[in-house]
């Protein structure tokens, strides 16, 4: 029963991930006074790309073609480590959150390598930015999780969310708030959302993530889009799992609460994107260091 449930949760993540993009885009459209694209547009795009042929530049090697798929595999592996709200992940062991972070890191590393493989100056710039910013968001994420681990005494992400969340709010509200804010900034940065990156821009020189994948096409690009959506879902799950106390014990209520929280997170991202401009590239590190500071503050509160 438990195994089936875990698998259902996993499948739910795989199926529902691109929906987040739809919700974000519809929220933004609402603010702009437009009707917006269909909720399922991301699915249509990915499906369309997967059926297309790919174009490869003569200056690229096998790495260029392999990058997106190895990256995808890494994200899928990461998905097995992420708990669904208050439910345990299919695979859980002490220190699994480190594996999770570095599996996502591996996926990015492969994407950066295949971007550099093209030899294009745009992709080189994008890769350099991506690596710089992820190096800064990594400590924020790690320290935030470390704070929760220390407070709960659990070394597994699943244990952290299962064992503790309901009373975490009651006993350690400030810690949850700090961790939640830090994770939200990391969520925005890692998923290339405003204020760090603008997913809608067509201007190569200002892009971060988008410019790295300019040369990918067809199924390769489709799988990059899907991996990105899945990664957004996973980081969202970590955030929601730690912050939303959905632990009634009634299965459908919990599941619904988690899905609703994910939708609300997407709406929140849409609201943030509609109400502020992107920060100057030079100031992005300040934002990420700010997130790290919040995490450190949470650790200080735990250790106090």
């Amino acid at each position: 029963m438990m195994t089936t449930l875990k698998l259902v949760h996993l499948v739910l993540a795989f199926v529902a991930a691109p929906l987040l993009l739809g919700i974000i885009n519809r929220t933004k459209a609402l603010f702009a006074g437009r009707r917006g694209q269909p909720l399922l547009q991301a699915y249509y795009d990915i499906w369309k790309l997967l059926r297309k042929g790919a174009v490869y530049s003569r200056s690229t090697s096998w790495l260029f073609a392999a990058g997106p798929w190895i990256g995808f595999a890494a994200v899928v592996a990461a998905a097995t480590l992420v708990p669904f709200g208050g439910a345990r992940a299919p695979i859980a062991f002490p220190g699994d959150f480190l594996v999770l972070i570095y599996l996502l890191g591996l996926s990015r590393f492969l994407l950066v390598l295949s971007a550099l493989d093209t030899g294009s100056s745009f992709e080189g710039m994008g890769a350099s930015r991506e690596v710089t910013f992820s190096a800064l968001s990594e400590p924020a994420l790690l320290i935030a999780l470390a704070a929760v681990a220390k407070y709960t005494g659990c070394m597994s992400l699943s244990d952290m969310v299962v064992a503790t969340v309901p009373h975490l709010w009651l006993c350690a509200g400030p810690i949850v708030v700090l961790v939640g804010l830090a994770l939200l900034i990391v969520f925005l940065s890692e998923n290339c959302r405003i204020p760090v990156d603008d997913p809608n821009t067509h201007l190569e020189l200002t892009m971060i993530h988008e410019v790295m994948v300019l040369d990918h096409s067809g199924p390769d690009f489709g799988i990059i889009l899907y991996s990105a959506a899945l990664k957004m879902w996973l980081l969202g799950q970590v955030l929601v799992g730690l912050v939303v106390p959905a632990h009634t014990g009634v299965l459908w209520v919990d599941t619904l609460a988690v899905l609703l929280s994910m939708a609300l997170l997407a709406v929140l991202v849409g609201i943030i994107e509609s109400s502020m401009a992107r920060v100057r590239l030079l100031h992005v590190p300040q934002l990420l260091v700010g997130a790290t500071t919040l995490s450190i503050l949470a650790v200080v509160l735990v250790l106090r």
């Binding site: 006074g33 100056s121 710039m125 201007l203 190569e204 020189l205 200002t206 109400s275 992107r278 100057r280």
Partner: protein
């Protein structure tokens, strides 16, 4: 202060070509340099053929404080000492002259073609490089220095242009802009005219400046024929020019917001721009004002009902754009992107001879509607809107100030619309005349210069779009900036490719 050796005249006034002083090249050169040093601007610098394969250099100098224009000329051979060495403003003009007529301005610091077309005179073999054939881009060498090439095909739906950045990491050390992809030969097409096509060519010189360019051209033709424009036609021309300004400035504010990822203003302004374009369509049936301005007046009249509707719509337009613009000025994240980005000091503006919004944003008090008024602007003045920072914010804010003043101007004009006909009897063009027509288009000073031949036909037509002056300003604005801020700086200038390439 009139320049020594130059004849002084007014915007839109034709003078006898014989009155234009012909100097020797050395005196010509020093007179232009002295005039620029004393604060005058080069409105146009070009070479024109004088029948028997001789070339004559003409310099049109604009004195903003006196409101007068000066012109001087010199006959040149195959080479002459470059003016640009001592007068930066002449730099781009001399490259153009060298490319068009294969003459060499000796000592020119960076002699490259600006449009990459074969010269107008002398044959050229297919395999021969286009003169002057320097094709190198300015290069920076060193560790961690890298080169980024953008365009001519861009990711957005915009015109083609090539940008070559020399960067150190994210920092831009130098930007070189290479244009010419849109060259169509508009100036040459006017020669021998004007014919039925000429006005249509002028209307599409720069599609977003139809009214500006057509007004400048019509003023030019009217000055040659001594044709008067009725008060009603003058008012309609001015309203159309201001509507064009409103539509484009509003669009620019929206595009600037879009570039920093600020959705509300971006979305609102996109729609409001359409509203302003539709107001032009209300007058003449075309959103860009094609067919509205014709030599001798305007092609379409308005009824009282039109005027009422226009007044209503313009009030609503101002209300909407006020909300959208104020969102920009009150959002800290937007201001932090705009402020201190792409700064052009006032000194650089003067040296490069920048015009229009970028010059005013740096504090240069210059506006053809004010300094060289023609038509309705002689009677109803529009104050010059300036700002003092010279950054993206300044260029955005000057646009907002101009939007408000344009609306006020249009309202005043609608309230006191003169009666009468909209066009006058056509007259033939006088032979052997020289005339300059300046109009403040929404981008800045539009300059049309022409000479008529012995038969009264156009012998030479020189068009200077504000973009011709300002592209170099964009290159300077990018110095020591972040390469990721280029699109924002570019949008804050919003220059025309086809207006430059002609």
């Amino acid at each position: 202060m009139p320049v020594s050796n130059a004849i002084s005249f007014y915007n839109g006034q034709a003078i006898d070509t014989k009155q234009v002083p012909v100097l020797d090249v050395g005196t010509f050169r020093s007179s232009v340099i002295d005039a620029a040093a004393s604060g005058m601007r080069i409105a146009a610098l070009f070479a024109a053929p004088l029948g028997n394969s001789r070339l004559r250099l003409f310099a049109v100098l604009a004195d903003d404080s006196a409101g007068t224009l000066g012109v001087l000329s010199a006959d040149v051979g195959e080479r002459y000492p470059s003016v640009a060495v001592d007068c930066t403003q002449a730099h781009w003009f001399e490259r153009e002259i060298a490319e068009q007529w294969s003459i060499v301005p000796e000592g020119h610091p960076w002699l490259k073609p600006v449009r990459f077309h074969p010269p107008y005179r002398g044959g050229r073999r297919q395999d021969e490089p286009i003169t002057p054939s320097v094709m190198d881009f300015f290069k920076v060498a060193g560790e961690q220095v890298h080169e980024v090439a953008v365009g001519p095909v861009h990711a957005g739906i915009i015109e083609p242009g090539h940008f070559r950045f020399q960067c150190h990491g994210e920092q831009v050390l130098n930007l070189e802009i290479s244009l010419g992809y849109q060259h169509r030969g508009v100036e040459r097409a006017s020669v021998g005219g004007p014919n039925k096509r000429t006005v249509h060519y002028v209307q599409t010189l720069a599609g977003d400046t139809t009214v500006g360019h057509t007004t400048a051209y019509c003023q030019l033709i009217e000055s040659f024929s001594g044709r008067n424009v009725t008060p009603r036609a003058q008012v309609l021309r001015a309203i159309a020019l201001e509507l064009e300004r409103l539509a484009n400035h509003t669009g620019d504010l929206g595009a600037l917001a879009g570039d920093v990822g600020y959705l509300p203003t971006s979305s609102f302004c996109g729609r409001i721009r359409g509203d302003f374009l539709n107001m032009t369509a209300l007058i003449c049936g075309n959103r860009f004002g094609r067919g509205l301005i014709v030599p001798g007046g305007v092609g379409f009249d308005v009824t009282d009902r039109h005027c009422e509707s226009l007044a209503e719509r313009i009030a609503q337009g101002l209300k909407d754009v006020t909300v959208a613009a104020n969102l920009l000025w009150s959002t800290p994240s937007v201001l932090s992107r705009f402020e201190d980005t792409g700064r052009v000091p006032i000194q650089t503006c003067r040296e490069l001879g920048l015009v229009g919004v970028p010059a005013r944003a740096s504090g240069v008090e210059m506006d053809c509607r004010f300094n060289f008024p023609t038509g309705m602007y002689r009677f109803a003045q529009v104050p010059v809107s300036t700002w003092n920072t010279g950054d993206v914010f300044g260029r955005a804010y000057v646009r907002w100030l101009e939007i408000q003043r344009s609306v006020a101007f249009i309202r005043d004009q609608l309230a006191s619309m003169p009666d009468g006909p909209i066009t006058t009897q056509a007259k033939p063009l006088s032979p052997n005349r020289f005339s300059v027509s300046l109009v403040e288009g929404w981008r800045g000073e539009i300059c049309h210069v022409a000479l008529t031949g012995p038969d009264g036909g156009l012998m030479h037509h020189k068009i200077v779009d504000p973009s011709f002056h300002n592209w170099m300003g964009l290159a300077m604005a990018l110095r020591d900036q972040q390469i990721s801020d280029f699109p924002l700086c570019n949008k804050s200038f919003n220059l025309s490719y086809c207006g430059h390439d002609l």
